[in-house]
């Protein structure tokens, strides 16, 4: 397209062809497939990593091929790891009133937080379960493609600055007491109580290439689909559908919806606004 050529010569940005080249290279060398990632975001993240690491397009290609340690750093910068405890407080209210009463009927509650990043969502859910008295019979798996953030998740230590935001979210979620009741203060940070970590496990899982590893009553995958094109979303919906027990719940981010006509029929909408779904059939 003529317009595109003009753009590419007048700006520093990566061209569509350069982005495709990087996608192919990463797929070949590292087996990691970015082909069906939302392109506009991917371009921003690639441009950002080049800026932060002060790399030209050619430097970036060279490092991706020749520097074995670089790929993890690259992956950490490309994937978005921004998360909060009790992000979207109204969502947690809805889970409390619409999902937990249902989960209480199960003998064991297994939850999968897919794309858990540094663990904030896993611990938010752990607190909800704790308040409902389900800690003993529940287990939360947090997975992510990124090993660096998983290390953070296992620690469960967050800065005071972050905790301040999380505590505000906690209040807005209408929960009793204070979020700090669940933390032990360190110097400039706070650690989640070990009692809440007991029934959690963090491990590497790639939604694009890995398969089913357990059966769950609840799968939470929030603000992950926004980075994927709808075709890839559909593929992952299939993985989630197969991983859920009959009548199991799937929750997506507040601005994400099931786009696939096929899977719209496979899930019942429990709360439209907060994107809470329940599996139909087995």
């Amino acid at each position: 397209m003529a317009g595109e050529l003009i753009m590419d010569t007048t700006t520093q940005g990566l061209t569509t062809e350069q982005i495709s080249e990087l996608i192919d290279l990463v797929k070949k060398v590292h087996g990691f497939d970015f082909s069906d990632y939302s392109k506009a975001s991917l371009k921003r993240r690639l441009t950002r990593v080049m800026m932060i690491k002060k790399l030209t397009f050619y430097d970036l290609k060279h490092k991706l091929v020749n520097d074995p340690l670089f790929f993890q750093i690259f992956l950490e910068e490309i994937t978005v790891n921004v998360t909060e405890m009790f992000r979207d407080p109204l969502f947690y209210r809805a889970v409390n009133t619409l999902v937990l009463p249902y989960l209480s009927t199960y003998q064991h509650i297994k939850i999968w937080s897919a794309g858990c990043s540094s663990g904030e969502e896993v611990y938010s859910l752990a607190i909800l379960l704790n308040q409902a008295g389900f800690t003993e019979k529940s287990f939360i798996y947090g997975t992510d493609v990124n090993t660096i953030v998983l290390k953070e998740a296992r620690k469960g230590i967050y800065s005071f600055r972050s905790i301040k935001t999380y505590a505000e979210n906690y209040q807005l979620a209408g929960l009793s007491g204070s979020l700090t009741d669940y933390f032990t203060t360190l110097y400039d940070a706070a650690a989640i109580h070990s009692g809440l970590k007991v029934n959690t496990l963090f491990s590497v899982h790639n939604l694009i290439s890995d398969t089913i590893f357990n059966e769950f009553q609840l799968i939470s995958c929030r603000n992950v689909f926004i980075y994927f094109e709808t075709r890839l979303q559909e593929k992952i919906l299939e993985l989630f559908y197969k991983s859920l027990c009959p009548h199991g719940f799937l929750v997506l981010g507040s601005k994400e919806t099931i786009r696939s006509d096929f899977f719209k029929k496979k899930f019942k909408v429990i709360n439209q606004k907060e994107n809470i779904y329940q599996k139909i059939g087995s």
């Binding site: 753009m7 700006t11 506009a40 978005v80 807005l172």
Partner: protein, 195 residues
């Protein structure tokens, strides 16, 4: 004012109107949404800074006042003409080349999420010279870089006159880097958009 032919031609040739505003811009944006004709034949995107978790009625207010249908953007929504899209709080909104929206929760820019820069820059990649973008009152520098990118792509770029803005910093930042084709007062902007 008498609109010069160049500006009104470029406005009429646009497929999408991008409105960026921060502190001091709400009343203007609300007014614009009201005066836009329902048969505009363009999509309208409103990118406005606001506090996260602030359970505002902004979307409702816009919807009630507008002649066109108004929606708060969901991820992967297709962009249709004669629709006003409100960028959601606590996400960045990007525009894809297939004329759909993609959301992003990454780091705030200029302490802002939504970032006007991000929406503008991605719009330049998708629409090239087919945008009209206007940057209004605000107390930081968000939007200036994005407006420059749109200008370089050939889109029509306008900054609100700093003397006319409640908070002049944002349009001034755009003017300082020569990102605006035109610097107009609110009344002139209304006249253009109604033309």
């Amino acid at each position: 004012m008498a609109l010069d032919k160049n500006i009104s031609d470029r406005w009429h040739n646009s497929d999408i109107l991008l409105l960026g505003g921060s502190a001091g811009s709400f009343k203007l944006l609300f007014h614009i949404v009201k005066i836009l004709p329902p048969n505009l034949n363009k999509a309208v995107v409103v990118a406005m800074h606001r506090k996260k978790n602030y359970l505002s009625e902004v979307e409702k207010l816009f919807a009630d006042g507008a002649g066109m249908s108004t929606v708060e953007i969901n991820d992967k929504d297709k962009i249709n003409k004669n629709t006003i899209y409100i960028v959601p709080a606590n996400y960045h909104t990007l525009i894809e080349k297939d004329y759909s929206f993609a959301l992003d929760v990454s780091e705030a820019l200029w302490f802002s999420k939504p970032s006007i820069d991000i929406t503008f820059e991605s719009a330049a990649d998708a629409y090239y010279d087919k945008c009209t973008a206007i940057l209004f009152s605000g107390a930081n520098q968000d939007g200036a870089e994005g407006l420059l990118k749109l200008k370089k792509a050939g889109s029509l770029t306008i900054a609100q006159h700093p003397e006319d803005a409640v908070m002049p910093e944002m349009p001034q930042a755009a003017i300082d880097i020569s990102a605006a084709d035109y610097v107009l007062r609110a009344e002139e902007i209304y006249e253009l958009l109604k033309s």
